[in-house]
């Protein structure tokens, strides 16, 4: 340890300050969710649970929740299949263009979301694909694939290949080896990748606004359209409150799966 006493104290203060900054807006919204007033002025005017009932009775909210759950599920399944296949190919085989594939698989995440959004929208218009849940899923799957690929290839790089070789030596064919050796060893990597891509899909708005039709609304789209209408803000507060609580779930799950770093390390 080379840090002086003073340096440690300063670092502790700075860290505390950053954490306070990170939580301030979340706390503000939690307080507003119980605010009886329709007007969003500081400070909140009291305590009520009335808006929770109103949110539950709101058909748009419920429809948006269902759409978001469906989009997240289908996008995650697509991403799991495609991302795992590519990761195995890139890791186990050497072939022409391997480096290019690695670079290609960074693009959907590294290029700004607005670019992905407008590019997909242009394709859907040109090929006359109807906007709806399908186009939302396609949009989400393009970046979820990257999440799965990154998680799986990171796991593959850490694992020795000797069990696969042993399996082959003992007469296991490609499929048996995958089913009995590779897949179980990828288990937790696949699980945390699925978690991450579902959460990203559930939260996505930048690409989704381009790829959703007028009839299909996801939860972020509901919030975005309601923010501009002051009358609906109390319901938005409640939805926001629930979403803040829900963000603890994936962190807790990831912690259970394989330690804290999985939840954020492989974005």
């Amino acid at each position: 340890m080379t840090e002086s006493r003073l340096a440690r104290v300063l670092l502790r203060f700075a860290s505390g300050g950053v954490l306070a900054f990170l939580y301030l807006p979340l706390i503000v919204i939690v307080l507003y969710a119980f605010n009886p007033s329709r007007i969003q002025a500081w400070p909140p005017q009291g305590f009520t649970l009335h808006w929770f009932q109103e949110a539950l009775d709101n058909r748009n909210v419920m429809r948006a929740v269902i759409n978001s759950l469906l989009a997240g599920t289908f996008a995650t399944i697509t991403a799991l299949v495609l991302g795992t296949l590519t990761a195995i190919a890139v890791h186990r085989y050497s072939f022409f263009g391997r480096q290019t594939i690695s670079f290609l698989f960074v693009l959907p995440i590294a290029l700004p979301g607005v670019v992905t959004g407008i590019a997909l929208q242009r394709s859907f218009i040109t090929f006359e694909i109807d906007f709806g849940l399908l186009t939302i899923v396609i949009g989400h799957a393009t970046f979820c694939v990257v999440i799965v690929f990154n998680n799986v290839i990171a796991r593959l790089r850490r694992l020795p290949t000797s069990p696969e070789e042993a399996s082959a030596d003992l007469g296991g064919d490609v499929f048996t080896t995958f089913r009995r050796i590779t897949a179980p060893r990828l288990g937790t990597a696949l699980l945390s990748a699925a978690l991450l891509s579902f959460a990203l899909s559930f939260d996505e708005i930048i690409v989704t606004l381009f790829t959703a039709g007028p009839g299909t609304q996801t939860i972020p789209m509901f919030i975005f359209s309601s923010i501009q209408r002051p009358n609906e803000l109390p319901v938005v507060n409640v939805v926001a409150f629930v979403l803040i609580l829900a963000s603890i779930v994936p962190v807790w799950l990831a912690q259970r799966i394989s330690g804290a770093e999985t939840a954020g390390a492989r974005l």
Binding site: L11, V18, L19, L26, I39, Q40
Partner: protein, 302 residues
């Protein structure tokens, strides 16, 4: 999980799967082909195909009847170059992206360093979780929260008014809002890679530096900073790219438009070729940024 595993069910029909496996065994190229066909088909056709089409559509004509696909024209580029308003938007977006990245680097360094090198394992674990929860909290919820804080009669007004500085503050009209909120949004994306990068530095190097007479400042400048630089660049890919591509935050917390706003506003109602042409700006910036980042070894720290 994969097509290979689900299409064959070895216990029931061992003969077929096994014969297929045996036939595939010497054919490495076919194995690669089968593995890559679907995902690459997906990414190449859906994603790269769309990008290519977007590029083409920047050269399409556009008149009162709407977009004329495959009728070529340079109008969109002439409008973009000729109108100084678009240059101002592009410059503003770029300046905010740089400012957000620098702000996040400065804010992230102390907490990442504290987590990686000072905190006990228990505290460290708790802090990782404490950084992860706001990261996973919904994006729009966070933007919306800032909107309620920044708007007139919000929390910020309530704090500033007694201090007598409420007057120059213009609530949601303030240009700096985007910078503040975007710095907030992407801060965890900078903290986590930086924390991982700092944790990887062997303590012995820091000890060696101080044994050789290096003061804390020298050790930081000559050992810690260079060794954590790839992690810093990795984090900056997120902060920079996410800022470049955002149009929701500028829309909700300020009046100042970003590149993304011009793209979104023109994507279906305005002039789609103009939107396509303008999107070449963030694409070009990001591709250059990524190539430089790969040079600097940032991809290993992602």
């Amino acid at each position: 999980m994969t097509a290979a595993a689900t299409t064959s069910d070895p216990p029931r029909r061992p003969g077929l799967a096994r014969r297929l496996a045996a036939w595939l065994f010497p054919r490495r190229r076919l194995q690669i082909g089968m593995l890559l066909a679907t995902p690459l088909g997906w990414l190449a056709i859906v994603y790269l195909g769309s990008l290519a089409l977007l590029l083409l559509s920047a050269f399409w004509a556009h008149d009162v009847r709407g977009v004329q696909p495959f009728v070529w024209s340079l109008d969109a580029f002439e409008t973009l170059v000729g109108n100084p308003a678009y240059r101002a938007v592009a410059l503003r977006t770029l300046v905010v992206a740089v400012a957000v990245t620098l702000t996040d680097a400065v804010l992230a360094f102390p907490i990442a360093y504290y987590m990686a090198r000072v905190a006990s394992p228990r505290v460290r674990n708790a802090m990782v979780i404490a950084v992860l929860v706001p990261l996973w909290a919904a994006y729009l919820v966070k933007v919306y929260a800032w909107r309620t804080i920044l708007q007139g009669n919000g929390l910020l007004d309530a704090v500033l008014e007694p201090l007598g500085i409420g007057q120059p503050w213009q609530g949601l009209k303030e240009d700096a809002n985007s910078w503040l909120v975007l710095s907030y949004l992407w801060l965890p994306y900078m903290i986590l890679p930086l924390y991982a990068g700092l944790e990887r530095i062997p303590s012995s190097l820091l000890e060696a530096s101080s044994d050789l007479g290096g003061k804390a400042r020298t050790t930081f400048r000559r050992v810690v900073l260079p060794l954590s630089f790839p992690a810093l660049v990795a984090g900056s890919i997120f902060t920079f790219s996410l800022t470049l591509g955002d149009y929701i935050t500028p829309d909700l917390v300020s009046d100042a438009k970003f590149i993304g706003n011009v793209i979104y506003d023109n994507s279906s109602l305005g002039s789609p070729p103009l939107a396509a042409a303008f999107s070449l700006v963030p694409i070009t910036i990001m591709v250059v940024y990524l190539l430089v980042a790969r040079r600097l070894g940032a991809f290993e720290s992602l």
